[in-house]
Symmetry: C2
Subunit: 344 residues, 2 copies
DNA sequence: TTGAAAGCGGTACCAT
DNA sequence: ATGGTACCGCTTTCAA
């Protein structure tokens, strides 16, 4: 729970912020009338001259309604809270995110991203709950606990939606089946005759929630085929890649699923510099289907991942808000498909 | 209304959100006492047994204070609003952004990103003003007008800070001198004997606020040298790059500043495919110093851009909030430096 | 040590 | 067609 603000610099502001009372005074009407006019309340009819006077007064004062006061009175808000911490870069996510925000706005929600770096579990949930959002959509940035969900719902959130790799109790969980990504990539490599398949595990923080399930998927794919999977920790820098490439022949690898296209490019370059031919000696598969991969030589094989549409998720949020009695369901949504080019 | 679900009888939806009055009732004290205890108000001394009863009651009810009510009463908030629209991807920006949020949080501000896709100028300012933020930091996503700044300040914002390429009246403007990026890149090309220098202008929306100033900077760099600058519109796809590369010899270009490393890679690949040798026939310079560039062959020359530190900006925000009487200043902050590799 | 009550800025019911 | 007014949840005097 947050401490009271001791900062209170009771410095007199040059101007005081205009309220609806100021508008009423200037227009010579009551606060009620101001509210009716500015909200176009249909249940009440206000004469045209009065409307004009109110509008002009509001304009002149630069009046802007106070969202906190409004939602306090209304007893609810239209705020959808999106906790964010480390921004997952990448065009795929970026596009989804923009679509999602745009769609929610069209549904008349106020989209607010709450910077949650350094917040964890229950503490995070409490911080979010203070804002009394009507819905919380956790994009996997912060792991939400069952406790946290309970706090949010108790404080009035009508929908809690998680987009991630794990199911959380009490939420509409949208599972991004990362395991499937590793599975299709590895299956493809096995089918094309590869036997000893490396799987890159980025050492950068935050990526393990994706890379772990992908490795599991890869293991599923080789089960019963006689092929084997070798985890390959890798930092996103040239030294790390060169070191790994230097051990390549000792490792006896003839294929690698490189986590994504960027790591794939890094590793492929290092392999080529180390005299390992791609795809002859070693096949390389990335993921994300970046333009980047098509520019490489050989052109990079990849896994194309279809992320949930922003608009689709926005509609799910809206439905969950309007019908909270519908029990939360878990849906899986990540179609993964291998795009074979020249590197495999 | 919704009937209680038989499967989850302990979670009837109609249940109301606990308030401090509920806590007071359960603890057998007044609301004032609850406030004192939960806020650790030092001016008032409450007996230990009472404190415990209050805390236990709050815990049992899952009480979370209502931020809107609190700031309504206090007359101010500690919210810093960051309007966002299209997420500018890229590790440079991403890192800055995380640092910035983290630093603000440490200064006890609540960082809120407000999704502003499709909002413009005054309308946007009004939407932000409704939340009564103590400060607004516009990262260039939405162009703020003088009018908009006025609206924000009138509604209580004690600091408005813009990070962008243009100065906006009434704000602390942090200018990212994009012109300098184009200037140093082009000067480098001129110094190494190039005469006809292309400057890539991405056709993707939103990038013109960067590319325009960069082109201007390039023009400054050739002034009086006899060299010339040729604007080169380019979409971020292979077709567009191939078409441009096909016209290369007709254009008579012997160098190109490719906007950034990604466009540079795209174009360099197209040039090589079209039989244009890099750097012999044409020198290529990118920007952003991505790892990507070091992986290309030839290794890509680039412009390294030093972005303002997140912590530094957070402190500027804090100072501006605490001393709003200090007049807004404009500061320039983007150190640009050419990193010469093999492509130029 | 604790409680009663005013009031922050809106909205909406009930009078007039 | 308008105005008076009782709230929403919380903090903070002032009184007891």
């Amino acid at each position: 729970m947050s401490q009271p603000t001791e900062h209170t610099p009771e410095r007199p502001l040059g101007r005081t912020v205009p309220t609806s009372a100021d508008v009423a005074r200037l227009a010579g009407v009551s606060r009620a009338t101001v509210s009716y006019v500015l909200n176009n309340t249909s249940a009440v009819r206000i004469s045209e001259p009065t409307r004009r006077r109110v509008r002009e007064a509001a304009e002149e004062l630069g009046y802007v309604p106070h969202a906190a006061a409004r939602s306090l009175r209304a007893g609810h808000s239209r705020m959808v809270l999106l906790p964010t911490s480390h921004v997952p870069v990448g065009p795929l996510y970026s596009r989804f995110f923009n679509d999602f925000q745009w769609a929610l706005r069209r549904l008349d929600y106020t989209v607010v991203q709450y910077g949650s770096v350094g917040l964890e579990g229950e503490e995070a949930a409490r911080a979010w709950a203070e804002l009394r959002p009507v819905a919380v959509v956790s994009l996997g940035a912060v792991q939400l606990t069952g406790q946290g969900v309970e706090i949010l719902k108790r404080s009035g959130a009508r929908a809690v939606i998680t987009l991630g790799t794990r199911h959380v109790d009490g939420t509409h969980a949208l599972l991004m089946d990362q395991g499937r990504v590793g599975e299709v990539a590895t299956a493809h490599l096995v089918e094309t005759g590869r036997r000893t398949i490396g799987v890159v595990l980025p050492e950068e923080p935050g990526l393990d929630i994706f890379s772990g399930p992908r490795l599991d998927g890869a293991r599923r794919a080789v089960r019963g085929t006689g092929a084997t999977v070798v985890p390959l920790p890798l930092r996103y820098d040239e030294e790390s890649a060169a070191a790994l490439a230097g051990r390549w022949r000792d490792l006896g690898l003839d294929a690698v699923f490189a986590y994504n296209d960027e790591y794939a490019m890094l590793l492929m370059r290092a392999l080529q510099d180390a005299g390992v031919a791609v795809p002859e000696d070693t096949a390389v598969v990335g993921a994300d289907d970046l333009l980047l991969g098509r520019l490489l030589r050989p052109r990079l094989s990849t896994v194309r991942i279809d992320m949930v549409l922003g608009r689709e998720l926005a509609e799910l949020v809206d439905r969950a808000v309007r019908e909270p009695e519908v029990p939360p369901r878990t849906r899986s949504l990540l179609a993964s498909e291998v795009v074979r080019r020249e590197s495999s």
